[in-house]
Amino acid sequence: MKTAPLLCCTGITKRFGGLVAVDDASLDVEAGSITGLIGPNGAGKTTFFTVIAGFAEPTAGSVSFQGRDITTLPAHRRAEIGIARTFQIVQPFAGLSVRENIAVGAYLRHPGREAAMTRAEDIANRLGLGPMLDQSAGDLTVAGRKRLEMARALATEPSLLLLDEVLAGLNPSEIRDMIPVVRAIRDSGVTILIVEHVMQAVMQLCDTVAVLAQGRMIAKGRPAEVASDPKVIEAYLGHGAAKRMQAQQGASHA
């Protein structure tokens, strides 16, 4: 028997004045999966993500988590019930050390200082931040800050981790290093929803990919299926692109 999805977004619409950023989009995230959310620039991915994380309320539609409606639940309460997020533009507590940064997340489940600090160290080691524990977060490299974002979110011990473009801005070798990290997080039992631009990573990581274009969900399926879907190719490359590509392929085969 199929279990109910961990996260269900149903008919999400978000309007900013006259602009419809997300238009009646639905998405389910299965427990234990890595689900990818992709789409061209301006498709509404970040808005959709913001609604799930509780940083914006949808104009219409509902979000439910573990069968419970959380559409109007504020962001900090979502963290309490097990939803953690990272930020696309990293938001470290720059004046604090790496250890103190992660401890802020760990305090959610460990009210005592010693326990929170120990927990922060464990998570830093898991994410390869061990040697930088006492460094100021403001002094980290971009890759280090991305890892810190994930470490802090993980420290809240979530069951669903929302990753907002954690690979953006990294060079190819840093991306290669990061992929096993994300996979290890999933293998430890955390469900992941990832918004990502780096296609190579999406194809390698995700079990399911959903494609958002102009605010609408246009495709969903396994990464390979989605990548060859004409609607998706058109959304990325423009109207008629799928036909042209087919024609070109046909010509080269001949």
Partner: protein, 330 residues
């Protein structure tokens, strides 16, 4: 995290407080004791400001609102309602804390940050000052005179040292409280809100609740300073209790001493008022008469020097050049 007794934890607090406690045995002159008592009152007001602004990042320009609530609270409770000042003390502190909660609720719920929050606090303090100056209940422009009845049971001491030690015990209590908060979950959340409110919320921090707790505590602490002020001088009026002077000193002391540190307000108040006093004396000697406001010039120069060269205050500079101070950061 680990460190010697002298450089971390409660050790330095106990040493500093003990040193301040034996100070009156060195100076017996009343003027010196008066001055030291005043320094401790400003320290206490500044400790309140430091908790909210230094740790929580919510910069207030109107801590006079809380100081005045404490001062008027304890004075009016005695004069109008005949309460014993020791009984009025916790009530006046609670009044300051409540003022903090209300002011915080109104401005934080409206998501006021930075200079907008600062302006709202300033406006509140000014409104209180004008109301206290106009209302018959608060004695109008004539202020409130607390009847002289020297008796320890009446919160008026024959020996100036008793008042000094009482004020010191308040300051010591807040030093310990601040140190404890800085190492607690609440302290970590407060600093997280200061550094980045959105990131803090994503990690499960209820930013509104954290800021409300901070401003309530802050209001209570600064109101306690107002209580001490009223009992020391036995006279207050709207400009003394709600005037901008205390808002300014409450924020200058931590900024000059070391913002967001346990000892910053104390170090800053000692330096600020000490230099102000020395300058006043020097100019009086030089010109043969007092130069009004010359200490304010010193405050201004100190502030500019700190902002330009020592953003972490005097303690920050000490920590950079003297290794022994380094462990003390909470």
């Amino acid at each position: 995290m680990k460190g010697g007794f002298l450089t971390s934890g409660y050790g330095p607090i106990l040493i500093v407080v003990a040193a301040l406690a034996i100070l009156p045995f060195g100076f017996s002159a009343n003027t010196t004791l008066n001055f030291l008592g005043f320094v401790l009152i400003v320290t206490l007001a500044a400790q309140g400001w430091n908790l909210l602004a230094g740790y929580g990042g919510q910069f207030s320009f109107g801590h006079a609102a809380f100081f005045g609530m404490g001062a008027y609270g304890i004075a009016l409770a005695q004069v109008r309602f005949g309460l014993n000042p020791w009984l009025a003390l916790p009530l006046a502190i609670a009044l300051g804390a409540l003022t903090g909660t209300i002011l915080g609720y109104l401005s934080f719920r409206a998501r006021l940050r930075g200079s907008y929050f600062a302006l709202v606090t300033l406006a509140f303090a000014e409104v209180f000052r004008i109301l206290a100056n106009a209302s018959a209940f608060t004695g109008g422009a004539a202020g409130v005179l607390i009847p002289l009845r020297i008796d320890a049971a009446n919160f008026q001491f024959a020996d100036k040292r008793s008042f000094y030690w009482l004020a010191l015990s308040f300051v010591a209590f807040v030093l310990l409280l601040t140190h404890w908060i800085a190492r607690s979950r609440f302290g970590a959340y407060l600093v997280a809100v200061r550094e980045n409110e959105d990131a803090a919320r994503a990690l499960g921090v209820d930013a509104l609740a954290v800021k409300l707790k901070a401003i309530t505590l802050s209001g209570g602490i600064t109101a306690a300073a107002g209580c001490l002020y009223a009992q020391k001088f036995l006279y207050i009026d709207a400009n003394l209790a709600f005037g901008p002077w205390i808002s300014v000193e409450a924020l200058l002391a931590p900024i000059i001493g070391g913002i967001g540190t346990v000892f910053g307000p104390l170090a800053g108040a000692v330096l600020l008022l000490g230099l102000g006093e020395v300058t006043k004396t020097f100019f009086t000697w030089l010109l043969g008469g007092a130069v009004p406001g010359i200490d304010l010039v010193v405050f201004g120069v100190l502030l500019i020097l700190c902002v330009a060269f020592a953003p972490r205050g005097v303690l920050g500079v000490l920590r950079r050049i003297v290794p022994a101070f380094r462990g003390g950061r909470p």
